[in-house]
Structures are given as structure tokens and as C-alpha cells.
Symmetry: C2
């Protein structure tokens, strides 16, 4: 997970990417206010002042992390559109859905997206989050060619995925929870559970 390569003196752009990876993980877990720049720095393997100096402020780092999470979604969907349909019975929406499930196996990205949505009321984060969401919708409609109603249905179930996964239901579900998961994810459930594994799989804190 965390960058392990004992890294002396790395070009700034590469370091920037490492910081953003760490920021998504940490901000995703604890939100903007709940995450310290020092946590991000440690996760990226550098010192706290360098994080601040690289991005100017914590707030700007946060916005960059939100944008990066949005780009991850857009990239994942565009990869599906670029790839040839292997199976003829695989409808586009199903393939997009599977790609999304795959993407958000990285719970950092998933939670970062959700954090972004919740920032809708914030004067700085809000506009970024709204524009990002609409960009994804436009992509589904214009590039993937989904009808508006289909795109909305796709998004709705995506949001349910988001909720169930951030709730960590797959990791800790009783009978009711399992029924809900089966019904929500359908055939994709094994995709979800494969990553969780048979163990309790509780990922500890940093």
C-alpha cells in the first residue's frame, strides 16, 4: 500500500504523485479536517513541511486529491470504452459496472469520492465536486452513449455500491447484510468478496 521504496531525492513531479496517493488514502479515511498534513507526509515518506510547500496549503492538496479521484473514475470508464467487447452478451453498462467495482477495490479512491460529494456545501470543494460529478455523467451520456435514463440508473446503483462499501458491509455483514449485498451486487458480488477474502480482513489504522 504505502510507498516503500527507500527514496532519496526524487523528481518533484513523481513526488507529487506519491503525495497525492497518500492524500487520497488518508483524506478518504478521515476527511479533510480529520487528516493532518503530517499523516499524509508520513504515508508519502517525506516531511510535513514539504507537503505543505509542494501544494501551497492543505486545502489545495485536498482539492487536488478530489480531482485525482474523479480522474481515476473517468480513466477507468474510458478504458472500458476503448477496449473491444470480449463477450457479445456483455452489455456496456455491465462492463462499466464491473470496471467501477474493480476501481473501488482501492477503498481510498472510493472514500475520497464520497468525501468529495459531502463537500458539496463547502464554498471551495463544492464547485469542484459538482463539476466532477457532472463530468462523469456527461461522459456516460456522450462518450459511452447511454440514454439519460440509463445513465441515471447506472449512477444510482453506483451510489449504492459506494454506500455499501464505505460502510464496510462486505467486511462485516450479518445474514441481513449478506442478503442485501447479494441483491445489490448480483453477479458482481464475487468480484467484491474476492478482495475482502474469507478472513475478517479488518484493515488497521495507520
Amino acid at each position: 500500500m504505502v510507498v516503500e521504496s527507500l527514496s532519496g531525492r526524487i523528481p518533484a513531479e513523481q513526488r507529487r504523485e506519491q503525495i497525492l496517493d497518500a492524500a487520497i488514502e488518508q483524506f478518504g479515511l478521515s476527511g479533510y479536517a480529520g487528516t493532518t498534513t503530517d499523516q499524509v507526509a508520513r504515508a508519502a515518506g517525506i516531511s510535513q513541511p514539504y507537503v505543505v510547500r509542494m501544494f501551497g496549503s492543505k486545502e489545495r492538496l485536498y482539492v487536488a486529491a478530489v480531482e485525482r479521484a474523479r480522474d481515476a473514475v473517468l480513466d477507468a470508464f474510458r478504458a472500458v470504452l476503448a477496449a473491444p467487447a470480449a463477450e457479445p452478451d456483455g452489455h456496456l453498462m455491465a462492463r462499466l459496472g464491473a470496471a467501477y467495482i474493480d476501481l473501488v477495490q482501492d477503498r481510498g479512491i472510493l472514500r475520497m469520492l464520497m468525501q468529495g460529494f459531502l463537500g458539496g456545501a463547502d464554498p471551495v470543494v463544492g464547485p469542484v465536486a459538482r463539476a466532477g460529478f457532472l463530468e462523469i455523467y456527461r461522459m456516460l451520456r456522450d462518450e459511452a452513449g447511454l440514454a439519460a435514463a440509463d445513465a441515471v440508473d447506472f449512477l444510482a446503483h453506483g451510489m449504492l455500491y459506494n454506500t455499501l462499501l464505505t460502510l464496510a458491509l462486505p467486511e462485516a455483514a450479518d445474514d441481513t447484510g449478506r442478503e442485501l449485498l447479494e441483491c445489490a451486487f448480483g453477479a458482481k458480488l464475487d468480484l467484491v468478496l474476492r478482495a475482502v477474502g474469507p478472513g475478517s480482513g479488518s484493515s488497521g489504522r495507520a
Copy 2:
């Protein structure tokens, strides 16, 4: 919005309710870490130490606020089930959906719910949030009598509502946004927009 009644010496239980109302509003806006106990206290019209003493700690107050938001949802749905169906064509799910839209006109409750979901990874909030979500699901299935697939579909669209509303899309939508809103809310859109009104309606900070 904020309790205005110049209130000297109020019974503790009543004060507790005021604090919880304020907590839902504030925590919903800024999350757990982003909200100070002093903000909650001011919004409730009392002093900061009293808030802490009443609930023991900020964390316990937060958990209580999450539970209260959950109860608000359960109560709203049970009210629908208890009321006689006025119109025969009004399907149960549509009536439940309308009740939900109505409930989350209070954006504080809406955002508090979302904050709770995002706390799924937290060792304290997580279990509460998971149990609360499953409780709502069980209610839909057992008390409302929805088929599991219908309940899941209902929840999925509810989660899309949540996202669109926390993003504050109704308050600030371009053409794409309006199309998305129309498609997502359908006939319920006027219910949503009625509260927002023709003005910009940007509700200021506390």
C-alpha cells in the same frame, strides 16, 4: 433555524434535544473533526462545557447525532405505513420516496446520514452506521413488505438522491445538471425545487 427562544434554565432532556438538533446541523455540514463542540454549543444557545458534560465527550455526541438521524428516517417511513393511502394509484414505494424527499428537505439530516455512512471505517462510528443502515433495510423489507429487489432499488435511488442533494446540485445546476435532476427525481423534482426556490437560495454559514 437556530433555537431562538431566549431560554433560561430548561429541563435537561429538552436541552439535550436542542443540542442534538444543533449537532446534526453542524456535524452534517463539517463532519466530526471539522466541527467544534463550541459551534454546536453556540447553535444550541448554550456554553461549550455544557455540551461536553451533557454527552460525556464529543464522540458520544456524534454517535447520538448519527442515531438520531437514523431514527428520523425510520420515523418518516413508519409514518407513511401508518397513514392510509390517499390515492389508489400511489404505489407504496412512490409514497416512501416522497416522504424521504420531504424529510431531507432538512439538509442537516441528509448530510448527517451521509457523514454516518462515511464513518463506516471508524471503529466507533462504523458499527453504529452499519447497524442503522441494515435496520432501515429490514424495515423496508419486513414492515413495508417490499421484495428484497425492490428494497434495494429503492435504496439505490435514495443514495442517488443523497448524492445529488449533498452536492447541492438543485441550488447550482447548469443545463446538464438540470437534465440529470429531471431524470433522477422525475415527478418528484418539483418537490425538491419547491424548497430551493427561484432565488439562488445559498444558505450562509453559521
